[in-house]
């Protein structure tokens, strides 16, 4: 230490140090100047940018989805309810190790590959970085508890309660009430600005049925709140709030018990039934069988479930009573009888002699009566009432031929044929009520006299929906008032007025004649539907029908057992009751049933009994007064198959799958043209 000391020049060292210190102090002051300038630049010069950015970080406008309106039946039973459902979402931010979180979640919650697929898809579409992305819907109580316990390990994971639609009666109202489901990309892309606003925060939209048609009423008005959120997107406090308005409640004309009665009476058979209030057009019951569980769709149907429904040969997704188009068969006869009377082509007393077939002048082609093959001859001497009661084909072949399409078509239009009924659910089809113009446009062929003859028994080009049949018979029952069928009775207590779409003035005695004929069908000794009125303490007017699916060549017999199931005849019934003061009109169709099971008329009878007399029957329970049937629908077969065999066999070839296609195929048969 000391040896160095003697060489040191302390004064000089101190001088050097002073200079160095001065330089360093200068450098420091300069750097402090830079630092202060930097903070000045951020805090004063760019203050507005950053304060905006900070507000943007902090405050978010959150939509508050409205509660969807409820749907009630006519007696106030809830058909579409809201129930809380718990959704697991993840807020993906820089703090989240997504893989670790997902791996942990998999041990707590049943997360399917489909969930993950959807999650990653949504993650890609994410707009706001702190938006929660739903991963799994409908958490169970156990899962919620497990998530709560592990919350500390699950940063960014949240469980949200939302109200989702619930249909307590499952498939009973699948085709009327319809269902809601997640708004899909296509719908989202078509939304207007206003719709985007209204649906912010709402994930479900009505897809079919009342849910779809009354969407704007049911939805309600979205509310909003300005919330302060932290960096993890969690709401810290609400700054301002505008409450949402609940959607309007919709009350239907449908009656839960009646609807159940219809389903019981159909007993799982493929077909449909519609019951209308004759005085208002209110739809009392409407069933399309088979149905499906609308609850499957609410939070998004799984691929396999949808595939099963969509590919089923039973086509449960088709709403048969507005989308199924069938030849009317003989159910068209009462309307044709009215046309004949009203337009002067026939009268009550006029009789024809029925040899069992009809031939156009100068032709050898036989239009056969159903009695020809069954009884080897015709009905004999037949007047109008008897023609209806016994469903005499020859009478109506001849009548239709004489009237011609130019008279029949406009008359039928008064009864709603060939046009959408305007029922308040979407996707209704118009059917075909043929006219000369329609045939020329559709087939580029002229109208042949044979075409007129076919209309006489509701075959040929005629295709009607079950709802159109119901409207037609309701119009007859109300003696000329065609009410628009309406499912909705009231929206938020405001009752919807009945709508009369058309009215036709026809003489009372003409109505009376047709009413009597139709009453004879059910209550007459030789009525084709005499089995359906047994034991009823009120009078039923009805008309049976058989709609042919495939044509039979001249001289051949129809042999049901030899045909594919889908080519068998449809069995139809239309009717109303009570005859003296009609209340309810019904149309029923059993597809490809071919009189193998209980007749469609028995379904109608069950509806009448329930509506007019409050008699409800369990599935398979027979109508008491019908002697030979005991319990199962299978047993009904014997009692019914004999009296009703309404064969109207012309060599038309109709493919009944046509109603599933957008454009109905119009077959042109050689046999008809050869009659020209």
């Amino acid at each position: 230490m000391f040896e160095n000391q003697q060489f040191k020049d302390h004064l000089k060292e101190a001088e050097v140090f002073k200079v160095r210190l001065g330089v360093m102090i200068g450098l420091m002051l300069m750097l402090f100047g830079v630092l202060i300038y930097r903070y000045y630049d951020l805090q004063i010069v760019n203050y507005l940018n950053y304060v905006t950015q900070s507000e943007h970080n902090r405050v978010h406008v959150e939509p508050i989805p409205p509660t969807r309106g409820l749907i009630y039946d006519t007696n106030g039973e809830i058909l579409a309810d809201n129930r809380p459902s718990y959704t697991l979402s993840i807020i993906v931010n820089k703090n989240t190790d997504l893989e670790v979180t997902l791996a942990l979640l998999k041990t707590l919650v049943d997360i399917t590959p489909a969930d993950l697929e959807k999650f990653y898809k949504l993650k890609k579409q994410q707009i706001h970085p702190l938006e929660p992305i739903p991963l799994h819907y409908q958490l169970t109580e156990d899962e919620i508890a497990r998530l709560a316990v592990n919350e500390y390990r699950l940063d960014g994971v949240q469980v949200d309660a939302e109200l989702v639609r619930d249909y307590p009666y499952g498939e009973l109202f699948a085709h009327t009430v319809g269902y809601v489901s997640r708004i899909n990309e296509t719908e989202l892309a078509q939304f207007t600005e206003e719709q985007l606003r209204r649906y912010s925060g709402t994930y479900a939209i009505g897809k079919i049925g009342i849910e779809s048609r009354y969407e704007s009423d049911l939805l309600g008005e979205v509310g909003s709140q300005n919330v302060e959120t932290n960096a993890r997107g969690r709401v810290q406090r609400v700054l301002t709030r505008i409450d949402p308005k609940q959607g309007k409640n919709v009350t239907l004309n449908l009656d839960l018990k009646l609807q159940q009665q219809v389903v019981n009476a159909l007993a799982g058979r493929r077909g449909s039934a519609v019951a209308l209030n004759v005085k208002t057009g209110g739809v009392l019951a409407a069933v399309s069988n088979p149905g499906f569980d609308p609850n499957l769709f609410v939070t998004g149907i799984s691929f396999n479930d949808y595939k099963a429904l969509n590919e089923s040969t039973e086509t449960p997704l088709i709403n048969r009573f507005i989308q199924g188009q069938f030849p009317s068969g003989s159910t068209i006869k009462p309307m044709l009888a009215l046309a004949g009377l009203h337009l002067g082509f026939t009268d009550v007393n006029r009789t024809i002699s029925d040899p069992g077939y009809f031939m156009l002048p100068g032709s050898t082609h036989m239009y056969r009566d159903w009695t020809l093959s069954k009884q080897g001859g015709g009905h004999g001497s037949v007047n109008l009432k008897r023609a209806i009661a016994e469903s005499c084909d020859t009478y109506f072949y001849e009548l239709a031929w004489r009237m011609g399409v130019d008279n029949i078509h406009p008359f039928g239009a008064h009864f709603g044929l060939g046009a959408r009924t305007g029922i308040d659910i979407p996707n209704e089809r118009a059917g075909i009520w043929p006219s000369r113009d329609w045939k020329r446009i559709k087939t580029k062929l002229p109208w042949y006299p044979g075409d007129n003859v076919n209309i006489g028994i509701g075959q040929g080009f005629v295709l009607l929906t079950p709802l159109q049949l119901a409207v037609m018979v309701s119009t007859i029952a109300s003696r000329g008032d065609r009410f628009r069928p309406q499912l909705v009775k009231a929206v938020d207590g405001v009752v919807k007025a009945p709508i009369i779409d058309d009215h036709i003035d026809i003489k009372k005695e003409h109505w009376d004649a047709v009413f009597e004929g139709m009453q004879e069908v059910v209550h007459g000794a030789r009525g084709t539907g005499k089995a359906f009125g047994v034991g009823a303490d009120y009078l039923i007017a009805g008309k049976t029908g058989t709609a042919q699916v495939v044509g039979i060549a001249q001289g051949e017999k129809y042999n049901a057992s030899g045909l594919n199931a889908v080519h068998r005849d449809h069995v139809l019934f239309i009717g109303f009751a009570p005859v003296d003061n009609p209340q309810i009109a019904v149309a029923v169709i059993l597809e490809n049933d071919d009189h193998k099971t209980g007749h469609a008329g028995l379904v109608a009878r069950a509806i009448f009994d329930a509506y007019l007399r409050g008699i409800y029957r369990a599935e398979g329970e027979a109508i008491n007064a019908v002697p030979t049937n005991n319990a199962a629908p299978g047993k009904l077969q014997k009692a019914i198959s004999d009296p009703e065999a309404d064969g109207a066999y012309e060599s038309d070839t109709y493919d009944d799958s046509a109603y599933l296609q957008d454009d109905v195929k119009v077959p042109v048969e050689d046999s008809v043209r050869s009659n020209e």
Partner: protein
């Protein structure tokens, strides 16, 4: 002490022997420095309370650390400067051994290995080096004829390089920079020839490329790249800087008010209670608060420089200047990085950021400064 050292100065006036000053002399306290440090630590506690989300627990812990820190300062102030010089080589050697041990058997977190564990006690040897480095370099150079000759310069650089390299290896870039600076500035104050300084600057420029490619870890490279363009990865690497700039900028002139900073209180600002605490302060107290704090730091540095200038001999002078300059580096690097001017390296804001050992070591440094400041008076009073 050589004879003429304490004869060079005489007490300026009788006021220097008031009762208060006698107390200060006895316990080697520099009132001005103490007052400034207390002011900054008080302000720091206020900011930390908000930054920690009104956490009493944090206040409690920080308070205890401050007690320990002031205790350390007081103890260091009692140590004779000459003893420090003699102890310096031993402390330095111990530090290097510990640093080597860290690499072999250290405890780590987040990809870095920084702690040594003895039983349940954990400590960071690099913190020892923050004091051992200026002590050792000052002790070594004060023995040499200054300005230093080339051999001594090389030896000094070696002295600096070994622990710096060991700390970089951990890796802990922030501490490495502080340790490096605390050694290098001693060389500078010792009169390192300007010619050498120019050469070093040039060499530094030339070494950027190899350093970038071979010495910096991925996360360090990322931090530097992100600094150039933080918006390139707003949810990842750039998040901290974007949010801290937003916090600072949105504070404006007056700030949003204490406990009203939305960026920090809503967790947008990461590390708001540690390295990024200046952003919280800027947001809540505005530019006025920032300038006041910087002023306090400047006063601390100025006082420290004054002490260095008046130190009795070369060792104390170099040591005091080094501690003051390192303190400046702390402040500048921290405030610069939070404001997006400098890469984000782990350097806390002195006496404001939460964190125990850094505060204790810094305060011990100021204890050394006080020991140097009062050395002359001690000698004077012992003469009485």
């Amino acid at each position: 002490m050589s004879g003429h050292d304490f004869l060079r100065r005489m007490p300026e006036s009788g006021a220097g022997f008031s009762r208060r000053d006698r107390f200060a002399q006895r316990f080697h306290i520099d009132y001005m420095l103490l007052f400034l440090l207390l002011a900054i630590s008080g302000a720091g506690m206020v900011v930390l309370y908000s930054a920690s989300g009104n956490s009493i627990e944090t206040m409690h812990k920080q308070g205890i650390f401050f007690l320990i820190a002031y205790g350390a300062m007081f103890v260091m102030a009692q140590v004779p400067v000459d003893f420090m010089r003699r102890a310096a080589p031993w402390l330095y050697s111990l530090g290097v051994v510990f640093l080597a041990l860290v690499l072999v058997m250290g405890i780590g977190a987040k990809g870095a290995q920084r702690w040594l564990g003895v039983g349940s006690i954990r400590f960071q040897p690099s913190e020892i080096m923050k004091l051992a480095m200026p002590l050792a370099v000052a002790a070594f150079l004060s023995r040499q004829v200054l300005p230093p000759r080339l051999l001594h310069i090389v030896l000094t650089l070696l002295l600096i390089a070994v622990p710096t390299a060991l700390i970089i290896k951990q890796p802990d870039l922030g501490t490495a920079i502080l340790v490096l600076v605390s050694g290098m500035v001693v060389l500078f104050y010792a009169g390192l020839q300007w010619w050498y300084i120019a050469a070093v600057v040039a060499a530094f420029g030339a070494s950027l490329y190899p350093v970038w490619h071979f010495m910096l870890h991925d996360y360090q490279q990322k931090r530097i790249l992100m600094l150039l363009n933080p918006e390139s990865d707003p949810l990842g690497a750039g998040w901290n800087i974007i949010q801290s700039k937003t916090a600072i900028g949105s504070g404006g002139l007056h700030g949003k008010g204490w406990l009203e900073g939305t960026q920090s209180r809503l967790d947008f600002l990461p590390e708001g209670h540690t390295d990024f605490i200046i952003a919280v302060m800027s947001e809540e107290f505005g530019l006025i608060g920032v300038v006041l704090l910087i002023t306090a730091y400047i006063l601390v540095i100025a006082r420290s420089m004054h002490i260095a200038l008046n130190a009795q001999e070369t060792f104390g002078r170099l040591l005091a200047a080094s501690i003051a300059t390192t303190f400046f580096v702390y402040v500048f690097v921290n405030m610069g990085m939070v404001a997006g001017m400098l890469p984000v390296v782990g350097v806390p804001l002195p006496f404001v950021s939460q964190g125990g050992t850094a505060i204790v070591v810094l305060m011990a440094g100021f204890g050394i400064l006080m020991a140097i400041a009062t050395e002359q008076k001690r000698i004077m009073s012992s003469q009485k």
